[in-house]
């Protein structure tokens, strides 16, 4: 294991969570995935070399069990904004994890929590930006073609 390998805790093993877990563990980081519904662990690749914790991350005991105090990175990827925002805050303010990220679908909530110092990634906003950019580019190309 590389000396600079990180201890990463990921909450949620859906499409995003498992993608991150597979990739990060593949490049040599030590990954723990916390997921309430154990069926979702099937999303992990057979080469996944990290730990699985089939439990509810909104319980403090579970975060302790995942040894969050030793985590370098914490990523919250469940489908519920509120769960992600809650566990992200706990990771940051209670366990002092240095890199904390939360997926938040609702752009309005995202704005507020950015103010609270929680780094969020809003698929809605990101997708919207990319779509708008794509439309602009396509439109420019279209206009250029007409000239």
């Amino acid at each position: 294991m590389a000396k600079n390998s990180l201890y990463i805790v990921i909450v949620g093993c859906g499409r995003l969570g498992s993608y991150l877990a597979n990739h990060l563990s593949g490049v040599g980081h030590s990954v723990v995935v916390i997921e309430k519904d154990e069926a979702n662990f099937d999303n992990l690749s057979p080469d996944f070399s990290g730990f699985r914790l089939g439990a509810d991350a909104t319980h403090l005991e579970v975060l302790k069990q995942a040894k969050l105090d030793k985590a370098d990175v914490f990523v919250a990827t469940t489908r519920e904004d509120n769960v992600n925002l809650m566990v992200a805050q706990v990771a940051r303010k209670v366990f002092f994890v240095s890199i904390v990220l939360a997926r938040v679908f609702d752009p309005k909530r995202e704005q507020i929590y950015t103010q609270l110092g929680i780094r969020t990634i809003c698929p809605t906003s990101v997708a919207a930006e990319l779509f708008l950019q794509a439309i602009k580019d396509a439109d420019n190309t279209h206009k250029a073609g007409k000239k």
Partner: protein, 242 residues
Amino acid sequence: MENKAILIVDDEKNIRLTLYQALESLNLPIQTAVNGEEALQKLAGNKYSLMLLDLKMPGMSGMQLLRKVREKWPKIRVIIITAHGTIESAVEALKLGAVDFIQKPFTPVEIRELATKVLEREKLDGENVADYRSLIELAKRNITDGWYDDAAKMTQKAISADSGQPEAYNLLGALLEIKGDIPNALKYYRTAINIDATYKPAWANLDRATSSRKFGKINLGIETPEKADVEKTGHGDKDGEK
């Protein structure tokens, strides 16, 4: 004991992989086994200094394997890997020489440090050891070898070296519990708690020893109290040796 191999016994591929990667830098040969039967085969053919054993395995259980290993290869040191909330027979594990436990999930650093500690422990010389930490390690080695009286002596010495540490009292309590002297064992666990009310391994032992079901491990403590992150009452206590 130098340059002898490490054997990893775990049915889960990702755990074997994690352990392998974590321990690579120790520069010892590492082999793996997916279950008790394979472990026995490997043990028969090779010399190992350290075995990492997951208690929860299908087929031959970790405890059964541990018993066999103790009979045939008593010199092998064992680190037990537990899952959260596992119920194991307390005193039994200790009598089989298991003094080191680590709970999943663990960081590569944790397992590396624990393995190093266990291997270093072999080099300790009873005559020349005077500091608290080494005395405790020596006591643990004595427990692994089944020399409980020597272990108790070492622990007493450790207390003379530093009477303000809860770990030594907790250890003495565990030794008394092995001998079957529960009332005095409880006294020592309580002493450990009086010294440090946050010392969780003693709480775990106290809860376990005073509950009517004698389940759970005897908890031998964690070196750095600020990293203690353990368990509660009733069943399956663990401890993370670092």
